[in-house]
């Protein structure tokens, strides 16, 4: 259908369309865009509850970059993303490959995969808090039964233990999401290709690297993008499982910002949040460029 541009720029139909978009745009502008801009503005102010608001220029940013606590949060968050995202995507790919096979328990497996995805991150945090319990948690029970360690491990009491505990708990919760999306990508690969490969006597490994991986590239990048964005903002799990400890070793940038907000310091908390969303945007743009995701994600 051609739009007529005779005396108005917008046709009647276009005005109807604008009307249909209005409620959505209103909600998104008022409850996402304005808050983000508000946060950006606040980052240039001293804005503490019960104290007069005062413009600071870039002082918050200068303090933030000289704040060892923030440096630590930044390093922890980067390390968490670098370790957990590849781990989850690789595990998710293995799960998806298994789910794609014709197995007797396929239905049960697909249901099982949805369970960790569906439960709140807070609940998974509490389950893992009990699993890692020093004296009666399941993790130390397994280690003791299999005689893998001399004594019980103080998971949440050491920096490296707490880090690994968080990565494991996060992988449990989010690997299924990667698996579900990758499975959809796998089932979109034409079966003819595999049949042809079988005729050519290609091995399992060859088929994986020559057919599966190249055709799955677009979906893999989408999953990487989603997982990276979510891992960067990690909050719920850490709040429950370690509270950012021991000694601030597992405080993510989100938790760092929240701690200032909940103490009433909106200026400094906003500054940390601004750095986080700049990182999220930068990484997203990079990943989108890397894979020209548009072709992969458009319906």
């Amino acid at each position: 259908m051609r739009i007529s541009f005779n005396n108005r720029f917008f046709s009647r139909e276009t005005w109807t369309a604008v009307g249909f978009l209005l409620p959505l745009v209103g909600f998104v502008v008022i409850f996402i865009l304005l808050p983000v801009l508000g946060t950006l503005t606040d980052s240039f102010f001293l804005d503490v509850t019960y104290r007069p608001k005062r413009f600071l220029g870039a002082d918050n940013f200068i303090w933030l970059f000289n704040d060892p606590g923030f440096g630590r949060a930044l390093r922890f968050t980067a390390l968490f993303v670098l370790v957990s995202v590849p781990l989850e995507v690789i595990l998710g790919l293995i799960m998806a490959l298994v789910l794609n096979e014709r197995l007797p328990l396929r239905g049960l497996m697909r249901a099982a995969v949805l369970v960790p995805w569906a439960i709140p991150a807070v609940v998974s945090g509490r389950i893992f808090e009990l699993i890692y319990n020093y004296s009666y948690g399941a993790a130390n029970y397994v280690l003791r039964t299999l005689h893998l360690t001399q004594g019980p491990v103080n998971w949440l009491g050491s920096e490296i233990g707490a880090f690994l505990a968080l990565v494991a708990a996060d992988s449990w919760k989010t690997t299924p999401f990667a698996a579900i999306i990758l499975l959809a990508g796998l089932s979109a690969i034409p079966a003819d290709l595999y049949r042809q490969a079988q005729v050519d006597r290609a091995t399992f490994i060859q088929r994986f690297f020559k057919i599966t991986l190249p055709l799955l590239k677009a979906v893999l990048i989408v999953v990487l993008l989603f997982r990276t964005i979510e891992a960067l903002r990690v909050f719920d799990l850490i709040f429950v499982l370690t509270g950012g400890g021991p000694g601030g070793a597992t405080t993510s940038v989100s938790l760092f910002g929240y701690n200032y907000f909940s103490a009433g310091d909106f200026g400094y908390g906003s500054t940390a949040s601004v750095i986080l969303f700049i990182m999220a945007f930068g990484l997203s743009l990079g990943l989108v460029k890397l894979g020209r995701v548009e072709q992969g994600v458009m319906p």
Binding site: A17, L24, L114, A118, V122, Y141, F204
Partner: protein, 276 residues
């Protein structure tokens, strides 16, 4: 043949590992909720069945568990319905009406969901305080609607774009308005997709934590994830049995929905992400 048998063995092992990996922590939660002694993994402690944890969670006034659960269900259901309604209006306009810059619009909306929640929550707290909405349902429902709209829009656009346009044309010829076409023709045909989107939006709202933590203060509006995160014992000892009973009850609605409507959920989740 030998390679085949080897491959089969690997796949079966991986399948068993997948099921164990996904269900073991979940099973541990349920087991602990029904256990008289939460430390049943220590050497001399037996596992003894009891319902006392559930009784405590359901009936003890001071825990406010039922209030939290009610808040969660009301807030999530309202958010999901409003979000899907507005998203379907927008999805109709995008798939059916003459509109310049549709693709750009879709990506701008998607970009909105890339902002980390912590970069909104400080401002939202001040906004809700100014409105006097702190610790009320609207303080959560409005941000949740906005937060789930991009997801709802993307899924619905993919469903709506598969519905033949001839249906619209027939409606137009019969003199229906655009709204009538959406309600009387598109909605019934797209019902499975709309239902899937509702479920996903509900689950996302039900599981949300940071906004709920910051924008509510007590049982008048506090939701289940916050209740469970802040669940501590009165006398120093963490009441693991009760926490796990509460966690099981809180998880039940979402897990049941996810399992009953497995196919639709997976379809909805993947529609937004994979071209297919």
């Amino acid at each position: 043949m030998n390679e085949d048998a080897f491959k089969k063995a690997i796949i079966f092992t991986a399948a068993a590992a997948t099921i164990l990996f996904c269900l073991a922590p979940f099973g541990y939660m349920i087991l602990t909720g029904f256990s008289r002694y939460p430390d049943f993994f220590s050497p001399q402690t037996p596992w003894v069945a009891t319902l006392s944890n559930y009784r405590a969670v359901m009936f003890s006034e001071s825990l406010h568990f039922t209030a939290f659960l009610r808040n969660s269900i009301i807030v999530s259901a309202a958010s999901a319905v409003i979000s899907v309604f507005f998203a379907s209006l927008a999805a109709y306009a995008i798939t059916r009406l003459a509109l310049p810059g549709k693709l750009l619009f879709m990506f701008l909306i998607l970009a909105m969901s890339m902002f980390p929640p912590v970069s909104l929550v400080g401002y939202l707290f001040k906004l809700m305080t100014a409105l006097g909405w702190i610790n009320t349902y609207p303080a959560l429902i409005f941000p949740y609607v906005a937060w789930t709209l991009p997801l709802s829009l993307w899924i619905l656009v993919s469903y709506f774009s598969r519905i033949p346009r001839d249906l619209d044309r027939a409606g137009l010829i019969d003199g229906c308005s655009r709204l009538q076409i959406l309600f009387k023709i598109i909605f019934p045909v797209a019902a499975p997709g709309i239902f899937a989107t509702l479920l996903l939006a509900f689950i996302f709202a039900f599981n949300e934590f940071l906004f709920a933590l910051m924008l509510t203060t007590d049982r008048a509006a506090r939701t289940i994830p916050v209740g469970i995160a802040l669940f501590e014992g009165l006398h120093g000892q963490i009441p693991w049995g009760e926490i796990m009973a509460a966690a099981t009850l809180a998880t039940l609605p979402v897990v049941a929905l996810a399992l009953i409507f497995q196919r639709r959920i997976i379809q909805g989740l993947t529609r937004g992400a994979v071209k297919g």
